[in-house]
Symmetry: C2
Amino acid sequence: MKTITQLKTLRNILCPLKRTGKIIGLVPTMGALHEGHCSLMRKARRECDIVIISIFVNPKQFGPQEDFDRYPRQKKKDELLAQKENVDIIWHPSVDQIYKKDFLTYVEVERLSGLLCGKSRPGHFKGVTTIVTKLLNETTPDILYLGQKDGQQALILKKMITDLDFNVKVKICPTIREKDGLALSSRNAFLTEQQRRESPILYQALQHAKKDILSGERNAQRIIKKIRAMITKTTSCTIDYVVCVDKETLSPLKNIVGSVMIALAVKFGNVRLIDNILLKV
Amino acid sequence: MKTITQLKTLRNILCPLKRTGKIIGLVPTMGALHEGHCSLMRKARRECDIVIISIFVNPKQFGPQEDFDRYPRQKKKDELLAQKENVDIIWHPSVDQIYKKDFLTYVEVERLSGLLCGKSRPGHFKGVTTIVTKLLNETTPDILYLGQKDGQQALILKKMITDLDFNVKVKICPTIREKDGLALSSRNAFLTEQQRRESPILYQALQHAKKDILSGERNAQRIIKKIRAMITKTTSCTIDYVVCVDKETLSPLKNIVGSVMIALAVKFGNVRLIDNILLKV
């Protein structure tokens, strides 16, 4: 396994590999790797000749009041984990290399980027689509592996890749959870013991909603109300949103029908957590 | 020479060529080919194994009041010209293929896209950078050939390619002119005889400015005033802008020094013409 920090070096390695027809898989990450990332690396390892993970805490996807500075960074630990998963290349560029001081170019998926998390985090998805465009051009993958945990992000990136004709297949992989249901996230480490104890209710509420829908409930407002009630009754967190939306367009549903995503975002103190489930109704 | 209209077909041809290490050159055009385009094709032919020209009148770079509908289209004539220049592939997709009805993704070079032509044509360069991103992903060129006639466009695309880490070299080639100095443009065909007779003053005024600067003039305002006076005195056109700017940042210069672009845009009736010269002072 090689950790590469210079674009020139990366290209010198990848260009000849591309020419011999090797299939490249990319797992983009911000580091602080956990079992969620590992599941993506393992899938990439099974399906590709060359597995690249990128580690880059992207300042452009954090708002000025957000947690860019305190986002966990653990280079050594990440390298050990990636090695264990037989990753070939860690692409680990510096912020200065990625964003030169006269950087001016942005990629944006309109409409979708302004909904759900995009409402509370203006500019967030513009930062995500811009960095992922750069990562695609740098690492030239055949397959991009994303996690369903960041459901809106995965949808937006898939749309970007289709719209801009990137020759990349997107594979969206299931959310990995703690035993008690909490979706894995690098930010879970910031929860207090009390918040951590309360946090499984998020997934439990989503599972309850699923059960209600499978039992015939079709009224989105009632579903949302019940999820909100379950969360507020048992935790100290504040709810950013709970929505039932069409899985592709993110348009809110009145009646639960079709390919549905039920998604939520909450804040435990200043720790923002998200989760979602997909349903075919 | 092949004219290709389907992305799948294009990829099936290009992927194996890329693998054998062939150098691909792309000349992006909106068709209505003239000697300016031909000079780019010839340069690409000298330098590349595979020469692709794209022909696509891009609706996203025309404003609602602009000339998208009457922009000249002459497929047969263009094919003959491209064949004469030994082009390998004409990439000629339909508007419906390029912009599916739920298209949402845009690429934008901020700041630079709002200046000069961007001021009078809001959204124009956003349309240009978006389509060229798509063309790059579709045709995977090693070298992109652009004309200096569209100086701001060339600068913006170069910036986009650098910022987004596209692995593409940009070559900007000199403006080709009629014998009397008028810069070649597909829109020249729309000039009346009278306007055509008046139009060489644009380049003459730029050449005068150059002579003045070489003789020691450094005051940008005086240079601009003189150019405007020459144009208004002898033509019926209305001036959109005349500027002396830094060639890289497009910032207006007070004193003419460094790498300078003197650029102008005018309208003869509803025919918009642009021209520019570069100087090192």
